[in-house]
């Protein structure tokens, strides 16, 4: 790969065939920590540079700025973010929406919402394993049988989404992720274009669906977060219906999808590392650190293609021209050897692990505290109850999306499930 151009390295890093391991291409890109990769797009793979840009008020997350560009930059989401949700807007709108939503989710106004989910999370984890145990299976899918059911049930309960609708929105989310949240070269193939079409249709159906839920809660308020968003007053007032519709959609997707990836990635990283299973079983105090390390190694959100420069920005020896889209590559910066010694080693006891698995700056993962709780309980329960887990195939098959990156399935063989 010695003479790969940034354009070629970027295309390779984003190509589906390299989804299991894009990291060598990120290493290649990182030779220039902020680099133009063609089509006006700049990608950031250096840790220091990413940290700086994530906090730079000349980096905008408002995707409407990109739509305004006439030259149609490749590699940015267009359908996602017709209106600004909190993930693709800037202050002051971003700050206000985040406050309006956080009121019903975290301290100081709602200090117990997340903590109160603990018994449910524990029960869901146990139920999933009980079900596998009852089936007598010695092989199961960490994604479908364990990692998915837990977060989806938790977020439905919290937001006020009927669980019986799950089969419906599961398909929409899948199509959206595969068709719109894949910004690599595959989207230009015939299959890619077809996926994109499906993605657009599904995203529309999904948006209508969550808007319908919001309408329902406007008429009949309940105790869930969607209802509180539009009904309860606060210093910023209730959220407008238009904003609630789109943010509800965002919260439902982001509220479970990347948690599934993180649970799978924890199991995968552990099973790939000789001795790690035994270490974590004997030292459960290392579990929280191991989860952070899995997030560093395999960031569930690899980047979010919303950002652009509002001014010329000089950084890392490169000038990003005003108006250029900029991708902050969390998964790449997380393996910057200038920041993390032995970056490709999964070390559950790693100290000083301030990775970008939750992003950085004002858009830092909104649901992070809930996800941390879910993944901690899920991983701890897995370690305690699943006997002698082994990876069936490595690498596992991956999902299409290079933004929300994770295994499509993660089959493991086990000796049994403990009580």
């Amino acid at each position: 790969m010695a003479d790969m151009t940034p354009e070629a390295a970027w295309a390779a890093a984003m190509a589906y065939k390299n989804r299991p391991n894009p990291y060598p291409f990120f290493d290649e890109l990182r030779k220039t920590p902020v680099v133009h990769v063609g089509g006006g797009l700049y990608v950031v793979t250096g840790y220091r540079e990413l940290l700086a840009l994530a906090h730079d008020p000349r980096i905008s997350s408002d995707t409407r700025r990109l739509k305004a560009r006439r030259d149609g930059v490749e590699g940015n989401v267009s359908e996602y973010g017709e209106h600004g949700t909190m993930i693709n807007s800037d202050p002051p709108e971003h700050d206000r929406m985040r406050r309006q939503a956080m009121r019903h989710f975290g301290p100081p106004d709602s200090p117990y919402v997340i903590a109160d989910m603990e018994p449910l999370i524990q029960k869901l984890c146990n139920d999933s394993l009980d079900k596998i145990k009852a089936s007598g299976k010695r092989r199961f899918d960490v994604v479908d049988d364990y990692g998915y059911p837990v977060p989806v049930a938790v977020i439905c309960k919290l937001l006020g989404v009927p669980m019986e609708d799950e089969p419906k929105f599961h398909v929409w989310v899948h199509d959206f992720m595969a068709g719109i949240m894949d910004v690599g070269p595959d989207m230009n193939t015939e299959e890619g274009k077809a996926r994109h079409e499906r993605g657009v249709t599904s995203a529309e159906a999904f948006a209508n669906y969550t808007a319908g839920l919001i309408q329902g809660y406007l008429k009949k308020p309940t105790d869930c977060m969607f209802s509180k968003l539009v009904n309860e007053d606060g210093p910023d007032g209730p959220m407008s219906v238009r904003e609630a519709n789109i943010n509800a959609n965002l919260l439902l997707i982001a509220g479970h999808d990347s948690t599934v990836n993180t649970i799978s990635n924890c199991v995968m990283c552990m099973l790939r590392t000789p001795g790690c299973l035994e270490l974590l079983k004997s030292r459960p105090d290392l579990i929280p650190g191991a989860i952070e390390e899995a997030l560093r190694m395999q960031a569930s959100v690899q980047f979010f293609p919303s950002r652009s420069a509002t001014h010329d920005i000089e950084i890392g020896g490169t000038v990003i021209p005003k108006g250029s889209p900029v991708h902050l590559m969390y998964g790449a910066a997380n393996r910057d050897p200038l920041r993390f010694p032995n970056p490709n080693t999964f070390d559950p006891a790693r100290q000083d692990n301030q990775h970008f698995g939750w992003g950085s700056g004002i858009h830092t993962c909104f649901g992070g505290p809930l996800a941390r709780l879910e993944v901690n309980i899920a991983f701890e329960t897995f370690l305690r109850r699943v006997e002698n887990p082994r990876l069936v195939c490595d690498p596992p098959p991956y999902r299409q999306s290079n933004v929300f990156r994770g295994p499509e399935h993660l089959l493991i063989d086990v000796d049994g499930i403990r009580n």
Partner: protein
């Protein structure tokens, strides 16, 4: 044996068998002890602290503890590791003999050291009138005992609380009083709260916050006299604006004094501003010569800072204690060239009137200030401080997520004013004078005089302090 082998041998032998004494068992002392063990120091480690309680965290004392959310004795510092130390708690160090390398304790014990860390910090400045200072209902706040007593007094629903001094601690307490729905008067000699730390422009905003929340804020006003009832409980305060207030609780938040008295006669560069040391935490002696065996960390340390024209600075901030302690510990068990500098961009935080205030750099080093992001009106903004075209500090009100950006600019001595943001641009982006008050004339400073005539015995000595 080669010289380098001899040196390596000396270091490892000290790490195995040396004696390290840490005077001051609060945040800096504890973190230094932990860091010494992390560094592989296996010798004898002694911690000396004048408070009986094990090391505890102070920031909650003026916030969560006073509000009654957290009992005063529930702010113990989490321990990052075992430190296997000999503790002398509740016994103050009263003297230092550098010739025999002993710390003297209040009970007369002598504790020998090979290397010493001074981390005795600061105490709150007492009320100036010694008789009035004995009144019941008059408080200062620094220790958990202080906080416990004040919390009880506030919980008893006093009719009015008077807070003297509107620095961070005074302002935080005023905020707590309003949250507890207590009537509160704040008397501040300067023109605005927080003015010493943040200047008059930002101070005006802090003043508005206080008044918006129902604080009776009086600036440019000092408290001239406190009067008690027959039971010697404070009941009235006479203010320089000619008014008399009926008060049940008075809190003197007049800043702090460095705990340097125990070092008298030790021949170190001590004084009003703390203990002078180099950027590697090594104490200077009275002549300004660096010592080899005495180190300083935390509030009491005063070192030259590369970003601020090498001026000697101390920072009474939490992170300065933690990070300074780590550097001091490392340097105590290392020799050149393995020693590290403590080159912190100081940071602080405060919570008051529902606003999270965070700072980075040294705001008071600047002479201009500019609002860089957000809206002052909505109490969510960032402001940068500049001096001679360079950014030297920043402060955020409910905008803490941006702090990192300003810290990076300060580290680079980037141009001031910083470039305008791409969004949420403030209505007025013109730098204005930051309005810091003139540096107060230092009082009660001992004078240093040069003594001796021969080059071999020439040196400095403290002359007795003269009150101005």
């Amino acid at each position: 044996m080669s010289t380098s082998a001899l040196v390596a041998d000396a270091v490892s032998s000290f790490k195995a068998n040396g004696r390290i004494v840490i005077v001051g068992a609060s945040l800096a002392g504890l973190r230094a002890a932990e860091a010494l063990r992390d560094e592989g120091f296996a010798g004898k480690l002694t911690l000396i602290g004048d408070e009986k309680r094990e090391p505890y965290d102070r920031p909650p004392l003026s916030k969560q503890v006073l509000k009654g959310w957290v009992p005063a004795d529930h702010t113990m510092l989490p321990r990052s590791r075992e430190i296997d130390a000999e503790w002398h708690l509740g016994i103050a160090a009263t003297g230092l003999d550098r010739k025999t390398k002993n710390v003297r304790l209040a009970n007369g014990d002598l504790i020998p050291y090979d290397r010493l860390l001074i981390a005795t910090g600061v105490r709150s400045r007492p009320w100036f009138n010694k008789e009035e200072a004995k009144l019941k209902g008059l408080f200062t706040i620094r220790t958990s005992d202080d906080a416990e007593a004040l919390q009880k007094a506030l919980a008893a629903k006093p009719k009015r609380v008077l807070i003297i001094g509107a620095g961070f601690i005074g302002s935080e307490m005023a905020s707590v009083c309003r949250e507890l729905k207590l009537e509160v008067t704040v008397a501040e000699r300067a023109d605005a709260p927080l003015i010493g730390a943040l200047g008059g422009v930002i101070g005006k905003i802090a003043a508005e916050m206080q008044r918006d929340h129902g604080v009776d804020l009086r600036t440019g006003v000092s408290v001239e006299k406190l009067e008690g009832d027959a039971a010697r409980h404070v009941r009235r305060a006479k203010l320089s604006d000619g008014t008399t207030l009926d008060v049940d609780v008075v809190v003197a938040s007049l800043g702090s004094l460095r705990n340097v008295e125990w070092l008298e006669g030790a021949g170190l560069a001590t004084g009003f501003w703390g203990v002078g040391c180099d950027a590697g935490c090594r104490a200077f002696d009275i002549n300004g010569v660096v010592t080899d065996s005495i180190f300083v960390a935390g509030d009491i340390a005063r070192a030259p800072h590369v970003l601020y024209e090498y001026q000697f600075m101390s920072a009474e901030h939490w992170d300065n204690a933690v990070i300074g302690a780590r550097v001091a510990a490392h340097n105590m068990v290392s020799l050149e060239p393995d020693r590290r500098p403590h080159l912190l961009v100081p940071q602080f935080w405060s919570g008051q009137f529902g606003v999270n205030i965070k700072g980075t750099g040294v705001q008071s080093f600047g002479d201009e200030v500019v609002i860089t992001q957000g809206s002052v009106k909505e109490r969510r903004f960032a402001a940068a401080y500049g001096k001679r075209g360079r950014i030297v500090g920043a402060v955020t009100f409910n905008h803490g997520k941006w702090l990192e950006y300003y810290t990076a600019l300060i580290e680079k001595s980037a141009p001031f004013p910083p470039p305008s943001p791409g969004y949420d641009v403030p209505t007025d982006t013109k730098p204005v004078p930051a309005e810091f008050p003139d540096v107060r004339a230092p009082t009660e400073l001992p004078t240093v005089v040069l003594t001796g005539h021969d080059p071999t015995d020439r040196g400095a000595a403290f002359a007795p302090a003269r009150r101005r």
